[in-house]
C-alpha cells in the first residue's frame, strides 16, 4: 500500500491510506494490526478519548490493563493519527484525480473532507431504548448511559438507582454504580430465570466470561420483571415494575437506567451502500465475509456494528479487518479460530435475552415515541411504515435522525427504518462548505 502524506490540519481535503471510524476495541485493534504495513492511518472517534464505550476513560475510571496497552500502543505508532472529538457527518466528494472516496468530518473547530481508498467501520452499537410512560423524565437514562455518565464524572454516592431491561449490560452498569457508591435498589431483567440459567450454564465455555458474570451477580436482580412506568413530576422519583404474570411493585429511586439490548450502528455503512445481514445481530448488523469485507469494495467492518459479542470478539474482528485492509490476508486468516470461539459466545447471548412481547405494549397513547419531534404513540400506531410515519408525523426527522425512535418503531411495529441519507448528523454550515462541490483544481497532496 502506498504511503500518502497527510495534509496539514487546516486543509479542507486530507488523505490517508486507511481510515478507521471508531476508536473502541475494534478500531484500536484494526489500527494496530495495519500499522506495521507502514500505511498512513487515521482513526476517528466522536468521543473525547479513545476506548469506545467499554474502555471509556474519565475522571472516575481506572482503565483495565488491556485498554491501557492499546492506548499506549496507538500513541507509539507515528503512522497512526487518532482524531477524537471528531464526527462523521456525511459523504465527501470523491477525489477528482485519484478517485479516493471521502467522508465529511467535523470536530469542535472545523470541518473537512477525508479521502481514503480503504475504510474500516468500527462504529459499535447503541442501546435499544424503548418507550414507556415517563421515559422522557429527567433521571431516566440508558443503562450503558448511566455507566458512561458515572465514568465521565457523575457522582452517584448515596443515590438510589433502579435498573430495568435485559442483558448483561444491566448487571455491568449496576456494578459500576455500586462501585461508585450508589445503592442499586432493583435490577429488573425481563428474561426468565430459565433463560438466565441456560445462559449461565454455557458460560464455562468462556471461563473469563463466567468469572465476570459471577462478579456481577446482585441480590436485587429479579427475573421475569419489567418496567411499567417511571413516575415523578420534574424528575424520576419512583418506578413501577411488573413481576411475573400478576405482581407489581413500586420502588422509590433517584435514577432509573433502562436498556433493552443493543442496536448495531450501521448508519454510516448503509450510507456507503454496505449490505446488512450480520448473523449475530438478528440480521440488523453489517454483513462481512471472512476477511471482514463488507459488500462495498474497500470498506471493511468489525466489532459490534456487525453483531453483538463483546470486546473480545471486537478485538479479534478489528485485528482481522486491519490485517485484511493492509493486504495481510494470511494474518487475518490466522485469527479465524479465535473469532469462531467468540462468535459462539455471541450466539449464546442472542438466544438468552430475547425480548418478551409485553415489552412492546408499555407505551400509552400519549407516551412520546420520537423524543426529538415529540410524536406520541397514538399518532404512530395507525401509520403503515417508517416513511408513512415520517411524512405524516415528523417521527424520525429530528436531531438524532431516527437513531432512537427508528430502532424503537422497528421493535414495536416491525418497521424498517429507511437507509440514511447525507447528512448523518447535524453539521455546521462551515463544514458543508468543505465538502462540496469537488474542487475543479484539486489540491496537490502536501506534506
Amino acid at each position: 500500500m502506498p504511503m500518502t502524506p497527510t495534509a496539514p490540519p487546516s486543509a479542507a481535503h486530507e488523505h490517508c491510506d486507511l481510515l478507521i471510524i471508531g476508536a473502541g476495541p475494534a478500531g484500536m485493534a484494526a489500527a494496530l494490526a495495519a500499522a506495521p504495513s507502514g500505511a498512513s492511518i487515521t482513526v476517528v472517534d466522536d468521543n473525547p478519548q479513545p476506548g469506545g464505550q467499554i474502555w471509556r476513560g474519565g475522571p472516575q475510571v481506572a482503565l483495565p490493563a488491556l485498554a491501557q496497552q492499546h492506548r499506549s500502543a496507538l500513541a507509539q505508532h507515528t503512522n497512526i493519527r487518532v482524531l477524537t472529538g471528531t464526527r462523521v457527518v456525511g459523504l465527501g466528494a470523491t477525489h477528482p484525480t485519484d478517485k479516493a472516496p471521502a467522508l465529511l468530518l467535523e470536530d469542535a473547530d472545523r470541518g473537512w473532507t477525508q479521502h481514503s481508498h480503504r475504510t474500516v467501520l468500527c462504529t459499535g452499537a447503541r442501546e435499544l431504548l424503548l418507550p414507556f410512560p415517563g421515559w422522557t423524565l429527567p433521571g431516566v437514562t440508558g443503562a450503558g448511559a448511566l455507566q458512561a455518565l458515572i465514568k465521565a464524572g457523575l457522582d452517584v454516592r448515596g443515590q438510589r438507582i433502579a435498573m430495568a431491561g435485559t442483558g448483561p449490560l444491566l448487571l455491568a452498569a449496576a456494578a459500576t454504580a455500586i462501585q461508585a457508591g450508589a445503592t442499586v435498589v432493583r435490577i429488573a431483567e425481563q428474561a426468565s430465570w430459565a433463560s438466565l440459567a441456560g445462559f449461565a450454564a454455557q458460560l464455562p465455555r468462556w471461563p473469563a466470561k463466567a468469572l465476570q458474570a459471577l462478579a456481577l451477580l446482585n441480590p436485587h436482580l429479579r427475573a421475569s420483571t419489567h418496567v411499567l412506568e417511571a413516575q415523578g413530576t420534574v424528575q424520576v422519583q419512583s418506578v413501577r415494575l411488573r413481576r411475573g404474570m400478576q405482581g407489581e411493585e413500586t420502588i422509590a429511586c433517584d435514577r432509573l437506567a433502562c436498556g433493552f439490548g443493543l442496536v448495531p450502528n450501521t448508519q454510516l455503512g448503509q450510507l456507503l451502500g454496505c449490505a446488512l445481514g450480520g448473523p449475530l445481530s438478528n440480521g440488523q448488523g453489517l454483513a462481512v465475509d471472512a476477511q471482514m469485507r463488507t459488500s462495498v469494495p474497500g470498506v471493511y467492518a468489525a466489532g459490534e456494528c456487525t453483531g453483538f459479542g463483546g470486546s473480545e470478539r471486537a478485538l479479534v474482528q478489528g485485528a482481522m479487518a486491519g490485517h485484511a485492509a493492509a493486504g495481510q490476508v494470511q494474518q487475518a486468516r490466522a485469527l479465524r479460530p479465535q473469532l469462531a470461539r467468540w462468535d459462539g459466545f455471541a450466539q449464546a447471548l442472542q438466544a438468552s435475552f430475547v425480548l418478551n412481547g409485553a415489552i412492546n405494549t408499555l407505551a400509552r397513547p400519549d407516551t412520546l415515541v420520537c423524543r426529538c419531534e415529540d410524536v406520541p404513540y397514538a399518532d404512530l400506531a395507525p401509520r403503515q411504515g417508517w416513511i408513512d410515519a415520517k411524512l405524516h408525523t415528523r417521527c424520525g426527522m429530528g436531531a438524532c435522525q431516527g437513531r432512537i425512535c427508528g430502532a424503537a418503531t422497528q421493535q414495536l411495529f416491525g418497521w424498517t427504518p429507511a437507509a440514511p441519507r447525507h447528512l448523518l448528523a447535524p453539521a455546521r454550515i462551515g463544514t458543508l462548505a468543505a465538502c462540496a462541490p469537488t474542487p475543479s483544481t484539486p489540491e496537490a497532496p502536501t506534506g
Partner: protein, 98 residues
C-alpha cells in the same frame, strides 16, 4: 489520566450564567446530571429533557457551549466553559445562534 484517587483538581464552568466547580475531566453531561433535574434542553412541546443515551446518539443533551450547539455527553468541562441550556426550543431550530 486514568487514576481515580489523587485529589481532584477542579475547573469552574457556568451553567446558564451560574458558576459551578466540577472535577477536571468531567463531561458536560455528567456536570448537568449532577444537579437534579439536570435539564439540558427543552423539547418542541416544552418538556424538560436530560441526557438519555450518554454516548452521542440521542442528541437529548445538546446544549449551547461557547455559543455553539454541542453534545454535552461528548464535551469535557474546561476552565471557564460557558454552557446554556436553551438549544432547540422551537420546531426545526436545532441550532439557535447567540
Amino acid at each position: 489520566m486514568t487514576s481515580p484517587s489523587p485529589p481532584p483538581h477542579t475547573v469552574q464552568i457556568t451553567v446558564d450564567g451560574i458558576p459551578r466547580q466540577v472535577p477536571a475531566g468531567t463531561s458536560v453531561a455528567a456536570a448537568l446530571a449532577q444537579q437534579p433535574p439536570g435539564t439540558a434542553r427543552t423539547s418542541v412541546t416544552g418538556e424538560a429533557r436530560a441526557p438519555l443515551c450518554g454516548m452521542g446518539v440521542c442528541h437529548e443533551c445538546r446544549v449551547r457551549i461557547q455559543g455553539r450547539i454541542r453534545l454535552a455527553c461528548q464535551t469535557v468541562c474546561t476552565e471557564g466553559l460557558q454552557i446554556h441550556t436553551d438549544a432547540g426550543t422551537a420546531p426545526g431550530s436545532a441550532t439557535p445562534c447567540p
